[in-house]
C-alpha cells in the first residue's frame, strides 16, 4: 500500500506532511510527558523487530499466497498509540530509504495512511475500548482483526483520495475504489489474523506487555508466565466475550465478506453515494463545495500546484505543442549521455594513473 512519489502532486504531498507532522508533534509531546527514558530503546528495538517481520512470509491456509504482520496495530498494542506512531514513522522512513518502499515525498502520506490509522484509530477507537475491562483471547482477536481490516480500509481509501486529488490518474473514482478496497479487505483480514495470533501469544506469556488493558478479575498475576493457562484463559474468554474463539473468527469472516460485497456494489452502481462518503471521510470544505470529485481534484491541482504550468491543460493542444519540447528533450538527453561518457573517460583515466 506504499504510495509512490509519482502518484502525488506537491500540494497533496505537502498537506499529508503537515497532517503527519501534527500527529507526530502531538505524539512527541505525549511521549515526553510520560518521561520514561526506557521507551526510547524499546521503540528502536521494536521498530527493528517490525521491520524484520516484514521479511517473513506467513502462509495463508487454503491459498498459495502469503501475508505479513500489521506493524501499526501491533506496535500500538505494545507501546501505546503515540510511541507506536513514532516508531512506525522510523520504520517507514528506513523502509523508504533502504528499500525504496514508498518515496521521500510520499512519506507523509504513507505515514498517514499506514501509521496514523493503524496506531491511533486502531488502538484508541478499537483496541482500548474493547480491552477496557481486561483482555481475553477472543477480545484480542476481535480487536486486532477489526482494527486491521478497518484501518487498512481507511488507508486504502486515503490512497485513492490522495491520488485523485493529485490529479495524476484518469482512473474514475468508482473503479479505483472498487479495486483498492476489496484487495485491502483481504490483506487486512490476513494481517489481522497474523497479528492477533502474535498478540494472543504475548497475552498468554507476558500479559503485562500489552498496552491499554484495563483491570479485570480474570487476569490474575499467578497466570503470568504460566504455560498451562490455555484452559483457564479460554474459560475466561468465554466469560468475557460470551463467544468462543472459533465462532468469533467465523463471524468476522462473514462480516468481512458482506462488507466487501457492499463496497463493490456501492462502488459500481452508486458513484454519487461514494462521493458523499468521500466528503464524510475527507471532511474538507473544498470537497463539500462541489459534487464532482474529479473536477474538484483537478481544481486543487491547478490552483495549488507550486509552480506555474506552461503546458496546456487541454490534451489535444498539448499534443501539438510539445513536439518541439519532445525533440528538445531528446537532444538534452543525448548531450547528457555525451557529457557523462566524457566524465567516465576522465575518471577511468585518473584511475589508471
Amino acid at each position: 500500500m506504499h504510495m509512490a512519489d509519482a502518484l502525488l502532486n506537491p500540494a497533496v504531498a505537502g498537506t499529508m506532511y503537515v497532517a503527519t507532522a501534527s500527529a507526530a508533534a502531538y505524539s512527541i509531546r505525549k511521549v515526553k510527558m510520560e518521561s520514561d527514558p526506557k521507551k526510547i530503546p524499546v521503540m528502536g528495538v521494536m521498530g527493528a523487530f517490525v521491520f524484520a517481520t516484514q521479511m517473513l512470509n506467513f502462509t495463508i491456509p487454503g491459498t498459495g499466497s502469503s501475508g505479513h504482520l500489521c506493524g501499526g496495530m501491533m506496535l500500538s498494542a505494545l507501546l501505546g498509540p503515540e510511541a507506536g506512531f513514532l516508531t512506525m514513522i522510523g520504520v517507514l522512513l528506513v523502509q523508504c530509504l533502504m528499500f525504496a518502499d514508498g518515496g521521500l515525498l510520499a512519506l507523509g502520506a504513507n505515514i498517514w495512511n499506514m501509521a496514523f490509522f493503524g496506531c491511533f484509530i486502531g488502538s484508541l477507537l478499537i483496541w482500548k475500548p474493547i480491552m477496557k475491562n481486561g483482555a481475553s483471547k477472543t477480545k484480542i482477536a476481535v480487536a486486532t482483526i477489526l482494527g486491521c481490516v478497518l484501518t487498512l480500509q481507511m488507508g486504502a481509501f486515503s490512497v485513492v483520495l490522495e491520488t485523485l486529488a493529485s490529479g495524476i490518474t484518469e482512473l474514475p473514482f468508482n473503479i479505483f475504489v472498487a479495486t483498492m478496497q476489496p484487495i485491502h479487505l483481504a490483506i487486512g483480514a490476513v494481517e489481522g489474523l497474523i497479528t492477533s495470533a502474535v498478540l494472543i501469544f504475548i497475552y498468554e506469556a507476558r500479559p503485562e506487555m500489552l498496552w491499554g488493558v484495563g483491570r479485570n478479575v480474570n487476569v490474575s498475576s499467578t497466570k503470568m508466565r504460566d504455560e498451562n493457562s490455555d484452559v483457564s484463559s479460554s474459560k475466561a474468554a468465554e466469560k468475557n466475550g460470551r463467544l468462543s474463539f472459533k465462532k468469533t473468527l467465523a463471524v468476522l469472516a462473514v462480516v468481512a465478506a458482506v462488507a466487501a460485497g457492499v463496497i463493490s456494489l456501492y462502488a459500481s452502481s452508486h458513484p454519487d453515494g461514494l462521493e458523499w462518503s468521500m466528503e464524510q471521510v475527507a471532511g474538507t470544505s473544498e470537497l463539500e463545495a462541489t459534487g464532482e470529485a474529479y473536477e474538484v481534484a483537478d481544481n486543487i491541482q491547478s490552483t495549488t500546484s507550486i509552480l506555474p504550468d506552461y503546458a496546456f491543460k487541454n490534451s489535444d493542444s498539448a499534443l501539438g505543442t510539445t513536439t518541439s519540447g519532445l525533440v528538445g528533450g531528446l537532444v538534452v538527453v543525448v548531450v547528457c549521455v555525451g557529457v557523462s561518457m566524457i566524465f567516465k573517460f576522465f575518471r577511468n583515466g585518473k584511475k589508471e594513473v
Binding site: 509512490a4 502525488l8 511521549v31 528495538v45 506552461y310 519532445l326
Partner: protein
Amino acid sequence: MSNIDNSLKEIGKLNDLQQRNQWLNNIHPLVKLLLTVIYILLVVSVDKYNLGQMLVLAIYPFMVFNIGDLRLKEAIYRMRLILPLVMMVGMFNPIFDSSIEAGIISMVTLMLKGIYTVMVAYALIATTSIEAICYALRQIYIPQILVVVILLIYRYIFIMGQEADRIMTAYKLRAPAQKGINYKAWGSLIGQWLIRSMDRAESVYESMQLRGFRGEYAYASKAKIRLADILYLIIWIGVFAVLRFTDIVDVIGGLFI
C-alpha cells in the same frame, strides 16, 4: 529464506556504497537531502502531458549516477516495489483520457515520474549513510526522539534480520514442504521472538543507563558545510530553475526541427 537473505544483502550492499570515498559521498548530507527533495518536488509538479520537460529532467538522476559512480541496474531493481501501483494507476490513462494519444503521453509521463523519483532516492541513500541523514535531520530541527529511534532501528535491523533468517531456516528444516510459516505457528514463533526482542530492548536500556543516559541522547555531527557543498547546491538549483521556468527545451527543439 532467500527473501530475507536478499533484503540483508541489499542493506549490506547499500552500506558498502555509502562507505566509499567518492566525491559525491563526501558532499554534505543536508545538501544531498535538500537537492533530492527539491528535485522530487520539481518532477511531480510537471504537468501530466508535458513529456518534453519530463525527458529533460532526466539530467539530474543521470548526472548524479555518473558523479556518484552508481549502477542503473540497482536502481531499476529497487523499482519493483513501487512501480506496480504506479502502473496500475497509469495503465488506464489511455482508456479514460480524452484521447488515446493524450492518455499514452500522460501514462509515460507518470512512469517517468516514478522512475526518476526512485532513482534520485537511490542516489541519495547509496552515497549517504542513514546516520548522516539523521544528523541532517537534526540540523533541520527534526525532534531528537524521532531521530534517535531511527538510528536505533537502523542499528538493530541487521541483527533482527539475521534472527529472522535463523528462525526461517530452523522452521524450514523441520517443515521442508511449506512455503511460509504455517498459521498454527504464527503466534508462538513470532511471539517468542517478540519477547526475546523486548528483553533485548530492556538490556539495551540497561546499557544506556549504565553509561549515563537519562533521556537525552548525546551525539555530535562531524560534517561541516564546505564551499564545494554550497557550490554543488547552487549549481543544481540553477539548473533546476532554468529547466523549469524557461522554455529552453522548446528552443533547443526548435533548432532541430
